[in-house]
């Protein structure tokens, strides 16, 4: 009896355990059907470019659990492998983004107290937040990530948004939504020539001086800390998180990424590097033609901007002689801007590409323009893959397609930079993403704009000579029946104000509206116009006789987008 009881007990225990196990299994049964059947894939009989200049015809690539296990023409495919027929497909290493702001939001500025002293702000109010980690301000569900992945990107260094020293970058993959996707944290310190509105430092003048100040005092703080650790009878060091966050830069463990928008800014970053001696990455580089020797001497890593200027001088029929004469040099400047990448290649300067500040919709078009203007396809691919792997220090496991590297690739219907090429699949972190390809005719249509609704909440920033400012645009309605409210930093210096958005017009991808700012009894009409690309807006904010300034906005994702 005793045994029997025990047996009963045992069996009921077993049942209970099974029940629990089965519950767990049930929870993992994936009713939505999104879980993949196998993590093992083979792409067969494809044209595989393993690294720039190395292409194998009729080859197979095998990868499992996010790792490439074999590439070549003589690959045996184990059982349980999901086979993707690569006939007529072209496989390339997945693109690596040197500096991306996809899904990165700008932390809101701290409230300014009523008795705020603009000459002596806290570091945070001044836009100096080197302790911030970009991943704390990153939305991995953001549409922009999907847009860039669709363009072929699989790994990106995320750069934090903010003031002159905004925080630390991180490297992520664009893989499964179930993973954190983090490859490395605190990979670089992000800096910009961006003043803080109405606060010291407010202009490039102040930013240059303040950067030196932060750097030199971080050095002194480090020295004090070391002395205190190894000696008796010393005053304790004042712990300062700004300085502490600068230590990895002082030790040259991580570089400073300086975002630059023209040659003068590039020179300013180089000037600071020469004086202070940090490792430098220049991001968003343009206008290199008169900087070649300086760039070579600096050993800085170059991340070239993927955006190109718009051709404002397209031949028009009613062009007068006066117009032609006036725009000849504008045209030359435009053509020169297209040649920047090829110029670097000719000079033997290694560079990578960075997407920050550019649009995913223009990505392949701009690359094709650069290639038409002298950039070789191999260098273009290298700048998207192996060069950036080296720039980010991840070449050990990324940048090429070979055994032992992470399974990141982009698969196209035609050779990568040809006009007909469309991305059919992207493998990111071993996960397969499929994309619809279109027949030739419709392929030219823009894919990620069209019926995008502009209604929603947009966060914008605008850079003016007196610093950066920003706010929220709330837009309701659709079609010609749009209403909205915009908030902006009060020009008198304190708090925010808001105004109704007037004449909101959306035509093609263009959004324009205006609003009135009243300050000191005077009304100023502010005009905004620019282009919408998915959830991104970039354009100009025009303040009458005070001039026009760049303005960028991104739409806050609504829960429906998840």
């Amino acid at each position: 009896m005793k045994i029997c009881t025990n047996h009963k007990l045992l069996s009921s225990l077993i049942v209970a355990v099974f029940f629990i196990l089965s519950l767990k299994t049930h929870a993992q049964s994936d009713p939505s059907g999104t879980r993949r059947v196998s993590s093992s894939y083979a792409i067969t009989n494809a044209t595989i470019t393993t690294s720039p200049g190395k292409t194998i015809q009729g080859a197979t690539i095998l990868f499992k659990d996010g790792l490439v296990t074999a590439v070549g023409t003589n690959v045996s495919i184990p059982k349980g492998t999901d086979i993707l027929s690569g006939d007529s497909l072209f496989v390339y290493p997945g693109f690596i983004d040197g500096a991306s702001s996809a899904g990165v939001s700008r932390p809101s500025d701290p409230e300014r107290p009523a008795n705020f002293d603009s000459s002596n702000p806290t570091d945070e109010q001044a836009g100096i937040t080197p302790w911030r980690a970009v991943l704390d301000h990153h939305d991995k569900q953001n549409n922009a990530i999907g847009d860039w992945r669709k363009a072929g990107f699989t790994i990106a260094q995320l750069i934090p948004d903010g003031g002159m020293i905004s925080g630390k970058a991180a490297i992520i993959t664009y893989g499964s939504g179930y993973s954190t996707n983090i490859l490395a944290e605190n990979t670089a310190l992000m800096a910009r020539f961006r003043g803080s509105r109405g606060v010291y430092p407010g202009t490039p003048l102040g930013v240059m001086a303040k950067f030196r100040d932060v750097y030199k005092n971080a050095e002194l703080s480090a020295r004090h800390t070391k002395l205190f650790a190894s000696n008796n009878g010393l005053n304790r060091p004042e712990i300062n998180k700004t300085y502490q966050a600068m230590y990895p830069v002082l030790d040259k463990n991580i570089p400073v990424i300086f975002e630059v928008s023209n040659d003068l800014e590039t020179r300013r970053a180089l000037r600071l590097q020469k004086e202070l001696g940090f490792k430098l990455v220049l991001s968003g580089v343009t206008e290199v033609e008169h900087l070649i020797s300086e760039i070579k001497a600096s050993n800085a890593i170059i991340l070239l901007s993927l955006s190109l200027p718009e051709d404002k001088t397209k031949s028009k029929e009613d062009a007068t002689e006066e117009y032609k004469a006036r725009t000849t040099r504008v045209k030359e400047a435009y053509q020169q801007a297209l040649k920047q990448a090829s110029l670097l290649e000719k000079e033997g300067i290694k560079f990578g590409f960075a997407t920050a500040g550019s649009k995913s919709g223009d990505f392949m078009k701009n690359l094709q323009i650069m290639i038409e203007n002298g950039l070789s396809e191999n260098t273009a691919l290298a700048a998207l893959t192996i060069h950036n792997a080296e720039n980010l220090g991840i070449q050990k496991f990324a940048g090429t397609l070979e055994k032992g590297k992470l399974a990141n690739m982009v698969i196209t219907t035609a050779p990568l930079f040809s006009k007909d090429a469309q991305v059919k699949h992207v493998i990111a972190d071993g996960y397969l993403f499929d994309y619809e390809t279109k027949s030739k005719k419709s392929a030219t249509e823009s894919s990620n704009t069209g019926n995008t609704s502009i209604a929603g909440e947009w966060e914008y920033t605008s850079d003016t000579p007196a610093g950066s400012s920003g706010g929220i645009m709330k837009i309701e309605g659709s079609g010609s029946n749009l209403k909205g409210i915009i908030t902006y930093d009060d020009p008198t210096g304190n708090g925010t104000a808001q105004a109704d958005m007037k004449d909101i017009k959306v035509a093609d991808n263009n959004l324009s509206f205006s609003f009135n700012v009243s300050a000191g009894g005077m009304d100023i009409r502010v005009n905004v116009s620019g282009e919408i690309d998915g959830s991104q807006f970039s354009g100009q904010i025009s303040l009458g006789e005070f001039g026009s300034f760049p303005m960028n906005a991104s739409k806050k994702p609504t829960s429906l987008n998840f």
Partner: protein, 460 residues
């Protein structure tokens, strides 16, 4: 004239070679000119030879092989005009966020593409003093620029041998920006003085703390803790140590006299007053205790503190032995400073030599570069202007302008579009908007004065 044209072509090749590292130095022989030396009278029918950027010889019947020769018969040769107060070729002018910003450096924001430099050359100006604005009691460190227009590298414009200078400002601008605009000190002229005195006193303490540290460091086995680094105070220390010349925006006699007293208290002698509309009231004090005054010829009444003014100011100051210069503070006036100087002959009957000194050797003295430029003397730098008439004549037009013996302007080779860099997206150059910016309160009005409601035009 024919000969002149032939040589233009020869020199052209010299002018537009982009500079790498070292700045261009040229050689040129200018023959048969009426040479206005400024420091050594007028030399009729005289030749000036510049070799490798330096005036080698002044005399008659000079010859040199392999050197471009220009026949300037019937023309006037004067030293390159020097503007002691300018904001041309700067990307930013005011860091208007704190009453003392002595750590900021205009050298960081020099814009070599500013076509204003070329316009200045067309007005015979070879050197300008690119200054911080007047928003702060103690503004930023200025940079003396040689107008080597055509380079992409801002550093090619720096006059590296010029001493450091800094901008100070008194009166309405700093009290308006900080006191009225942000409700912090200074709100009155008393506050401005207090800001400056407190700054110097803090600088003395700062200097002491580093001296103590460095002394302690020398002792064996000592482990002193370094003080905090403060470029703002270090710059003020350098002023107290006589390494930096102050150029102070000022108008009223009382504030000028007050700052003279402050400087005397702190043992500072390197100070030049700018604008100085009431300078004529304190001329003996300016002569005794300062490096002089840099004034407008006849510009006033653009705000309350500038009502008590006279066109005789420069003449009164000159006759009272104040080192006096006439400046532009404007991208427009800089094109005809020779006219501005000539006004002192109408208002004050200054001699030719006195009037020319106002725009040549005197500003050179105020910038600490009079041993190198400001007059036509052997051994000085080859900064020269050829005029068709006497430069103090209303009919005078500059013909050619040389910096370091290199020709940067020639009226016979003056293309419509002399911009260095053109935007790929601006089909209309915002010339008016940009010209508007070259002034003392650049970048301040919009954000600190209710969109510039009341004082937008009042920019000095």
């Amino acid at each position: 004239m024919k000969k002149l044209n032939i040589f233009i072509a020869a020199i052209l090749t010299l002018v537009w070679i982009p500079t790498q590292g070292q700045t261009n130095k040229g050689s040129v022989l200018i023959k048969n000119a009426t040479v206005l030396t400024v420091t050594n009278g007028t030399l009729e029918d005289t030749d000036v030879l510049v070799e490798n950027g330096i005036i080698k010889k002044i005399g008659k019947g000079l010859s040199a092989s392999n050197v471009t020769t220009i026949d300037a018969k019937g023309k006037y040769l004067m030293p390159g005009i020097i503007d002691a107060h300018s904001h041309v070729a700067l990307d930013a002018v005011n860091e208007a966020t704190a009453p003392i910003t002595s750590e900021v450096q205009m050298a960081d924001v020099v814009d070599p593409f500013d076509v204003g430099l070329y316009r200045a050359l067309a007005g015979g100006v070879t050197i300008s003093h690119a200054m911080h604005g007047s928003a702060n009691a103690i503004g930023g460190q200025n940079i003396t620029l040689k107008h080597r227009y055509g380079t992409y590298n801002p550093e090619d414009l720096y006059m590296k041998e010029a001493p450091r200078t800094i901008k100070f400002a008194l009166g309405e601008n700093p009290t308006r920006v900080h006191g009225r605009g942000k409700n912090i000190q200074p709100r009155t002229r008393m506050g401005v003085e207090a800001i400056i005195r407190n700054g110097f006193n803090e600088a003395l303490q700062y200097k002491k703390s580093w001296e103590n540290y460095n002394t302690a460091l020398k002792q064996k086995g000592a482990t002193p803790i370094p003080p905090k680094h403060d470029a703002r105070l270090q710059t003020l220390v350098d002023i107290l140590d006589g390494k930096i010349i102050i150029h102070c925006h000022s108008y009223r006699a009382d504030e000028i006299y007050a700052l003279i007293n402050t400087c005397r208290d702190f043992g500072i002698t390197n100070i030049v007053f700018s604008h100085v509309n009431e300078g004529f009231k304190v001329a003996p004090e300016l002569a005794a205790y300062t490096m002089g005054a840099s004034v407008f010829a006849d510009w006033w009444a653009y705000k309350f503190e500038v009502y008590y003014s006279t066109a005789y100011n420069a003449a009164i100051l000159t006759e009272n032995n104040v080192i006096t210069s006439i400046n532009s503070d404007s991208g427009e006036l800089i094109r005809h400073l020779y006219h501005e100087a000539a006004k002192t002959q109408r208002y004050g009957q200054l001699s030719d030599e006195q009037a020319l000194a106002l725009i040549t050797i005197n500003p050179a003295k105020q910038l600490g570069i009079a041993d190198k430029v400001g007059s036509i003397e052997e051994g000085k730098q080859g900064d020269l202007v050829i005029f068709d008439e006497h430069p103090l004549s209303v009919y005078a037009i500059p013909q050619m302008t040389f910096v370091d013996g290199v020709k940067y302007f020639d009226i016979h080779d003056d293309a419509d579009d002399m911009r260095i860099k053109v935007s790929a997206t601006d089909t209309v150059e915002p010339i008016f908007l940009k010209e508007h910016d070259h002034n003392c309160m650049h970048g301040v009005d919009f954000f600190f004065n209710n969109f510039g409601r009341s004082l937008f035009q009042h920019s000095h």
